[in-house]
Symmetry: C2
Subunit: 313 residues, 2 copies
């Protein structure tokens, strides 16, 4: 069996061991790990950007690569309700890369770090054929603000923090070398972590996750960890006119982008009805008692599979 047959989460399930140390509150399986310190709770996450897979030098400026490397990690810390503090950077770089290029990656990293008073405290450099940037981000959170994937309850309403589908739409526009659609391109090149929104939400939500893999798999993660089901209302998923325009130009379905595209870095969160007046966001579904995972469209319900949904219902 190969990695592509089992996927990221199959692989993680197969190799994960339950932590023994009682100071580890959350181990592998959420957006970030949580450990208990006397200062409070520390939240730790790591993520890598690989040249060719996550960025191409023809599309991204080095500054944008640096920003994206940091923002995707801030997004993981934000979705835990935590405040990001310290960054470690592990760089693998080709020998013939221009020093200016690396310096501009760093400037991009600092741009995103400075915005949130995050400090780059350490790192490492090594050689490789393609650029690989691995970032570890450490944050802090109060117990009352900690937002996990596992806290969703039947009856919770599901919200997203913003419009979806831009990540995939931008990628497709670049891949097909289509002119125009500058805002869609910019949304793809310069994703922004929703930190302020997350910190406002964290005390009111029962569960929260950031959208790196598409709305459907993210809600599925919440359901798996919370042992419940969900129904997503297709026509409530917020998709901008520009993303719809890009999809139309590409002759593709913008709901595919939103549900399965990923790289939007908006938040999806579930809220008890009593807390709804305290939060903002776009209502997109509801947590159910049953283990079903459904997409509702104009009153009809269909099962959502891992590979997508039936476009024609």
């Amino acid at each position: 069996m190969k990695v592509k047959d089992i996927g990221e989460f199959g692989l993680i399930n197969r190799i994960t061991k339950k932590p023994k140390d009682k100071d580890i509150l959350v181990g592998i399986g959420d957006d970030a790990a949580v450990i208990k310190t006397k200062k409070g709770l520390q939240v730790l996450t790591t993520d890598s950007l690989v040249e060719g897979d996550h960025f191409r030098r023809e599309w991204f400026s080095p500054f944008q690569i640096g920003m994206k490397a940091v923002e995707i990690n801030i997004s993981d810390i934000a979705s835990m309700g935590a405040i990001p503090k310290y960054v470690l950077v592990s760089f693998a770089l080709p020998n013939d890369l221009e020093v200016d290029f690396v310096e501009n990656i760093y400037k991009g990293m600092w741009k995103s770090c400075d915005k949130y008073n995050i400090e780059i405290i350490g790192g490492n450099m090594t050689h490789s054929e393609k650029i690989v940037i691995s970032i570890t981000l450490i944050g802090e959170v109060d117990n009352k603000n900690l937002a996990l994937r596992s806290g969703a309850k039947p009856g919770d309403l599901i919200f997203v923090s913003g419009h979806l589908g831009n990540g995939r739409a931008g990628l497709r526009i670049f891949q097909e070398e289509i002119k125009g659609f500058e805002n869609v391109k910019k949304g793809y090149l310069e994703p922004k972590a929703q930190l302020k929104t997350a910190l406002k939400l964290s005390q009111y939500v029962n569960s929260m996750i950031d959208i790196s893999d598409g709305l459907a798999p993210e809600i599925r993660h919440i359901c798996n960890e919370s042992k419940c089901g969900a129904i997503i209302y297709k026509d409530k998923i917020p998709i901008s006119e520009e993303v719809r325009g890009a999809a139309k130009r590409l002759n593709e379905d913008p709901y595919d982008y939103a549900l399965f595209g990923g790289e939007d870095f908006e938040l999806v969160y579930t809220v008890s009805k009593k807390n709804i007046e305290n939060i903002n966001g776009f209502l997109v579904g509801e947590i159910t008692r049953k283990n079903d995972f459904l997409l509702s469209n104009k009153g009809k319900e269909k099962k959502l599979t891992k590979n997508g949904y039936d476009h024609f219902f």
Copy 2:
């Protein structure tokens, strides 16, 4: 100017910013970063292994890749006098890699982690053409045991914790496809962090660093951070008979391996004369007041340059 022209430390010097946060005791420039928490001092390091550059699947079993990925990070934490606690793993994996292969990398990681009661608390998986394993290791240290690069004083004696040169000798034996030399090969495939030794030493040393890049550049790091010079006694550098044998077979200089080869993961540390009776190790040199960086051989002294030394003196 390209990355290869300026090197790792040139690049780090060019992009490093001084941290503003007063809780950051040590930022970029040591084996690990140190931040103040109410529990004590936390030590954080990150390092990557890149397929083709740091390992080859023909030479290493997946179990050995996993062990090495963890041991090289433990080595960085150990050289700070700290106790390793938590690991984050960021994996970039080819789609057609066998799941068993990944599982065995993890088993190797756990083998090294279990030895020291370290827990793997989180991580991330993504796609790439070649295997890249980025590990972040977090440890704890008491202030009195913290060992930095910057504490060396003129008159300190310089010691190493074990025999040097095996890292490079093993690599060369594999590269030239030479049969035999099984212990040299094993030393290269399965390096061990000197954690127990480091914890015994830490309260007595003025400075300490682990040998990932060769004895000469590591002592140079200590001198740069401590603003002093050093003299290394060539004939006191401990090199095993087996490494000497491998060098002879390859028609190369074993002192080249020890001084510039790297990947030995032994410790080099400097100690005031009054503390010598408390420590073990091989005496290899002395810290001097002058900014010189010298190699002494049978009473003659020569400057050590970044590119090596004159083999014929």
